[in-house]
């Protein structure tokens, strides 16, 4: 009996080791297609799909097409973990682009790390993401790099700003990380942080927080949250009479907040890691495709997801030139893909990208935009110099 069990076990191990790479090449995409995070996730799904279409239309990986396998990572940790597990074991993907939130990345990335599957975070901007493991990298510039630009720009627009109110979603790892950066930046700029208010990403009624902000006489408000709660907070701040400048963090960096705060979005300042105006050929192609399909400029989240798929494909193409992907064992290819991702240089819609040895993105260009609303639902990000 023991001998049979041993034979079966050895057989299973051998067959697992012998698993070859499928064609078309499966790349996992674990993003928020549902939940209140879907406001961001849907943009990322669009970006990833555009990348798949664009790459396959141009011959895929040296003639072999790629196939994106989507799993809904929703907005919570459990869904992200399930999505990662399904992609790694059932779909046998070579690498994963996702998840949407940093909070989810801290829970799901270790699963990929243990399975030695490379992960590219398309919007995980909290401190410590690349440090989760050797197989974890990101195409989203950390908040510590992007956020200070917004504060400096606000001071340029209104040099009289002295008092700052800071609000953040305390149940979201990214927002708590981002608010730390914002508060440090504000203090470094000589501003007085007069009140720090917390809320939850699921909250809808912010009157308590807004009342405190109004009583603090703040002349700048900085919000770290997600699109739904952040947009609602902006709306209630304006409706209850706040007239000063508002800075939104990365979670508010999406055109999906326009229908949430509607005309009250007008004037909100947002630091961004992407601009449709970025001049590279890769970006201009992406913008053209996006505009043709959606009749508006692509948002940052779409561009970053596009860049994630593109980086993975470019790295696979480099490997394929040395040895055809179909001849690799899946486990070996995953390790090699991770090495190649970190070694390469990529021309993406975000501009030229590289990674440091930990998987942190090295990006050259950043932007600050101000929201201008055309009507109750439609607006645009106007880039400030």
């Amino acid at each position: 009996m023991k001998r049979i069990a041993l034979t079966v076990a050895l057989g299973l191990i051998t067959s697992a080791q012998a698993q070859k790479v499928q064609t078309p090449i499966p790349i996992g995409v674990a993003l928020a297609q549902t939940s209140n995070t879907a406001l961001l996730g849907q943009e990322q799904v669009i970006g990833a799909r555009l990348a798949e279409k664009f790459i396959n239309a141009r011959g895929g990986i040296n003639g072999t097409p790629i196939k994106l396998i989507f799993q809904d990572a929703a907005g919570d940790e459990n869904s992200a973990i399930n999505a990662f597990q399904n992609l790694i074991t059932k779909s046998a993907v070579v690498g994963i682009v996702g998840p949407t939130l940093s909070q989810q990345a801290f829970a799901a990335d270790p699963i990929a790390e243990r399975a030695k599957v490379p992960v590219l975070g398309p919007s995980n901007t909290a401190k410590g993401i690349p440090q989760i493991g050797n197989f974890i990298a990101r195409v989203s510039a950390p908040v510590a790099v992007v956020a200070p630009n917004a504060v400096k720009q606000a001071l340029k627009l209104d040099s009289k700003i002295k008092k700052v109110a800071v609000l953040y979603a305390q149940n979201d790892a990214f927002s708590t990380s981002e608010t730390g950066t914002f508060q440090e930046t504000a203090k470094a700029q000589g501003l007085d942080v007069v009140t720090v208010q917390k809320f939850q990403t699921t909250d809808t009624d912010f009157t308590t927080q807004v009342t405190s902000v109004l009583n603090s006489d703040a002349d700048l408000v900085i919000i770290s949250g997600l699109a739904a709660d952040g947009g609602n907070l902006v709306k209630q701040l304006r409706q209850l009479g706040y007239k000063g400048l508002i800075i939104g963090g990365n979670g508010l960096n999406t055109s999906n907040i326009f229908p949430v705060c509607q005309k009250y979005c007008d004037g909100v300042i947002i630091a961004q890691a992407y601009s449709p105006a970025q001049a590279s050929a890769a970006n201009q192609l992406f913008v053209k495709e996006y505009r043709a399909q959606y009749k508006k400029d692509p948002p940052q989240f779409a561009a970053q997801a596009y860049a994630g798929v593109q980086v993975m494909t470019d790295a696979l193409r480099a490997i394929d030139r040395r040895k055809k992907l179909s001849q690799w064992d899946l486990d070996d290819l995953r390790v090699e893909l991770n090495r190649q991702i970190l070694a390469g240089k990529y021309n993406t819609p975000l501009g030229e990208l590289r990674f440091d040895k930990e998987g942190e993105i090295l990006q050259k260009e950043f932007y600050v935009a101000q929201i201008k609303m055309k009507d109750a639902k439609n607006g645009s990000f106007v880039y400030l110099k």
């Binding site: 549902t34 879907a38 699921t202 809808t204 009624d205 739904a228 409706q239 509607q262 109750a376």
Partner: protein, 324 residues
């Protein structure tokens, strides 16, 4: 805390508390008649908001089966000014009431007919709630839908006055929520207390068997109760939705739990208790120190726990007398 801040918090608390009250009244009505909690009430609350949204906007742009549908390419006839919006709200609430009637027919009546344990009806209502929430997600996606910002007209803020050097401001929508809630409470109080229907409802609540012997159609009045309950729940959903946006299919879950807290706090089955409970929880949330306001839900339930320790029957509930 400054006087202006106290007044501002008081007004904010009254506005949100009044909507808690009308939402919780829906729970209370069903509990008074059947002695069970209808866990689908939160889902009906969500539906009310979606129904009104459909009547007023009629566009589903997000990720669901109805994606791309635009019911009113030339603009909704139920949009454009506050009075027409009020009509849409009313129709939305009526539709929510009809859904509640359907829930009674499908989930409660079969159980009652078989003399099932009330606990089974409770689980059945929980199942209905999950089905509704998932259906909404399937049809219109998980994203937020927003009413037009001028749904209540352009007068914003509605009310502002000075207290010392500070200005206290109340949003239009807060005033409307408060006013509509007061009107609804008055109408319901009149219907229950002064009309034949109200008397019959009270008789069914007191003893369905005796009411039946008196010629009252118990099943019909149970349906009326569910309709009123759904109407109130749906109306509350639209009021909250216009104030803060319809925050996805799970929009009603938190309100459902809070509604439970309200009726337990006020006293199970007590209509004035639901009103007092709603206002107490609304005010308690508004007065949570702002640095802890992210924990206001926990504060509401902690308050409930403390009050129940002192007064287990709730603020206005009657103590149960056990006859031996």
């Amino acid at each position: 805390m400054e006087v202006s801040q106290i007044i501002q918090n008081l007004l904010n608390g009254l506005a949100i508390g009044s909507v808690y009250a009308i939402f919780a009244l829906g729970y209370t009505l069903v509990f008074s008649i059947l002695g069970i909690i209808n866990f689908a009430h939160g889902a009906v609350f969500t539906l009310g908001a979606y129904f009104t949204y459909t009547l007023v906007v009629g566009q589903f742009e997000n990720n669901g089966l109805l994606k791309g549908i635009n019911l009113f390419p030339n603009g909704s006839p139920l949009s454009g000014n506050p009075w027409v919006f009020a009509l849409a709200t009313l129709i939305g609430a009526v539709l929510a009431g009809l859904v509640a009637v359907l829930i009674e027919r499908l989930a409660f009546r079969p159980m009652r007919a078989r003399g099932a344990d009330p606990l089974l009806a409770l689980v059945s209502s929980l199942g209905v709630a999950l089905v509704i929430v998932n259906l909404i997600q399937l049809l219109v996606g998980a994203e937020i839908y927003n009413f037009p910002s001028d749904a209540y007209g352009q007068v914003q803020p509605a009310l502002s006055f000075h207290v010392g050097e500070r200005v206290v401001i109340i949003r239009t929508v807060q005033v409307i929520i408060f006013a509509v809630s007061l009107v609804m409470l008055a109408v319901l109080g009149y219907v229950i207390g002064r009309t034949k229907v109200g008397k019959a409802l009270r008789a069914v609540a007191e003893n369905p068997g005796t009411a039946s012997l008196l010629g009252i159609s118990v099943d019909r009045f149970i349906l009326i109760t569910f309709f009123l309950s759904g109407f109130l729940g749906g109306l509350a959903g639209t009021l909250v939705g216009t104030a803060f946006g319809v925050a996805g299919p799970y929009f009603g879950v938190t309100y459902g739990l809070k509604g439970l807290a309200v009726i337990v706090l006020g006293g199970l089955g007590s209509i004035p208790g639901a009103v007092v409970g709603g206002l107490v929880i609304g005010l308690a949330e508004a007065f949570v120190p702002s640095q802890y306001s992210a924990y206001k839900d926990a504060v509401a339930f902690a308050l409930l726990f403390v009050i129940l320790l002192v007064r287990p029957q709730g603020l206005l509930g009657r103590a149960q007398i056990q006859k031996v």
